[in-house]
């Protein structure tokens, strides 16, 4: 049986945790030094949508036809149902069904 908690693995986890905590707290901390001018306010307003698009678009484009089709299906489901839950289920189901049917990607 493997050792329950290996020392070197714990060290690696500690470093990964430190980096992640620094990211979570660092952005919040840095913004305390940025005055809320109207320009900064416009940037902050645009930030959430920009994060969403920047994180999802390359994944969609490079994910191949199955991923793209699943994301389009999720957007369509949101527009029709206005329900995020249905959108996520539709997205996952479309991808799972397409892959089960042997379509790659």
């Amino acid at each position: 049986m493997a050792e329950a908690l290996r020392g070197d693995v714990m060290l690696a986890f500690a470093v990964m945790t430190a980096v992640t905590v620094a990211a979570r707290l660092g952005g919040f901390w840095l913004m305390s030094y940025v005055p809320m001018t109207p320009r900064v306010r416009r940037m902050m307003d645009a930030l959430p949508g920009s994060i969403i698009v920047a994180a999802a678009l390359p994944v969609a484009v490079n994910g191949g036809p199955v991923v793209m089709f699943a994301i389009v299906a999720a957007i369509a489901a949101t527009i029709v149902s206005r329900n995020d839950f249905i959108a996520v289920i539709v997205g996952m189901a479309v991808a799972a069904a397409a892959r089960a049917a042997g379509i790659g990607g």
Binding site: A23, F28, M43, A46, I52, A54, I71, F85
Partner: protein
């Protein structure tokens, strides 16, 4: 509550704590729960294949708490940990998780009005799903901090539990793609864009963010595309002239 009557006030209400937002906060992250469970199970299965102990997996779930970064790190896990391989894992984790810095930065106008001993611990709970739901709530004028923290604590608890069945059922769950689990987060992101749509002019920064992210993804290996794209989008919004109408209603 005086500014609550104006449409899209420039200065939104400061944060406060009232327990009536806990349940709505949990309902708002509801769509994330099946995907989080499936993702956590798939991660547990991957860790079992990579010979981690269940105790180690739980330590990672509890402390690192970044699903995508954990997946990327464990997939790249070296056979023998050395100083340089740990540094490589740290850099990999940083590139995947640096988006949390942007997310917590965007929560500053809201949570920055709380005492530090409340706001900083809250930021430790920032994840994609919790942040997305809270952002939409804030966009509609919400200010109750429990909305974010309540939903985020449920996501955290589910994440801790999810790896266990995955670890124990490793063989059946090794390929999360078979169940479309890799689509849970992109689908939720896409669903969030629909209500965020406020006309083509407000979407110009999104187009900038998307174009830059695609370019960086193509040119630079790794996960830098998220942060470079997102910052480009925000900066482009700052460079655009103010869109006036309705946005500049400032109340003292």
């Amino acid at each position: 509550m005086t500014s609550g009557l104006t449409k899209a006030p420039l200065t939104k209400a400061p944060a406060y704590w009232a327990k009536d937002a806990i349940w709505p906060g949990i309902v708002a992250i509801g769509p994330m729960l099946p995907g989080t469970l499936a993702f956590g199970m798939a991660f547990g299965a991957l860790c079992a294949q990579k010979q981690f102990s269940l105790a180690e997996v739980e330590v990672m779930m509890a402390f690192v708490y970044g699903g995508l970064s954990q997946f990327v790190a464990v997939q790249a896990w070296p056979d023998h940990l050395t100083g340089s391989s740990i540094a490589t894992l740290a850099l990999l984790t940083l590139t995947v998780n640096i988006r949390f810095a942007l997310m917590s930065a965007s929560l500053r106008p809201w949570f920055g009005t709380l005492p530090r001993w409340q706001s900083y611990p809250s930021m430790l709970l920032v994840t994609d799903g919790g942040w997305l739901a809270a952002t939409r709530y804030r966009d509609h004028g919400g200010a109750n901090a429990w909305f974010f923290v309540g939903g985020a604590l449920v996501l955290y608890a589910l994440w801790l539990v999810a790896a266990i069945p995955g670890y124990l059922l490793a063989e059946q769950l090794a390929d999360p793609r078979k169940y479309g689990v890799d689509l849970a987060m992109p689908a939720f992101y896409a669903a969030m864009l629909v209500p965020a749509w406020k006309g083509p002019r407000r979407a110009i920064p999104w187009a900038v963010a998307g174009a830059v992210a695609l370019g960086v993804h193509w040119l630079v290996p790794g996960w830098w595309f998220i942060i470079v794209g997102a910052i480009s989008g925000a900066v482009s919004a700052g460079l655009m002239p103010s869109d006036g109408a309705g946005r500049e209603t400032r109340h003292g």
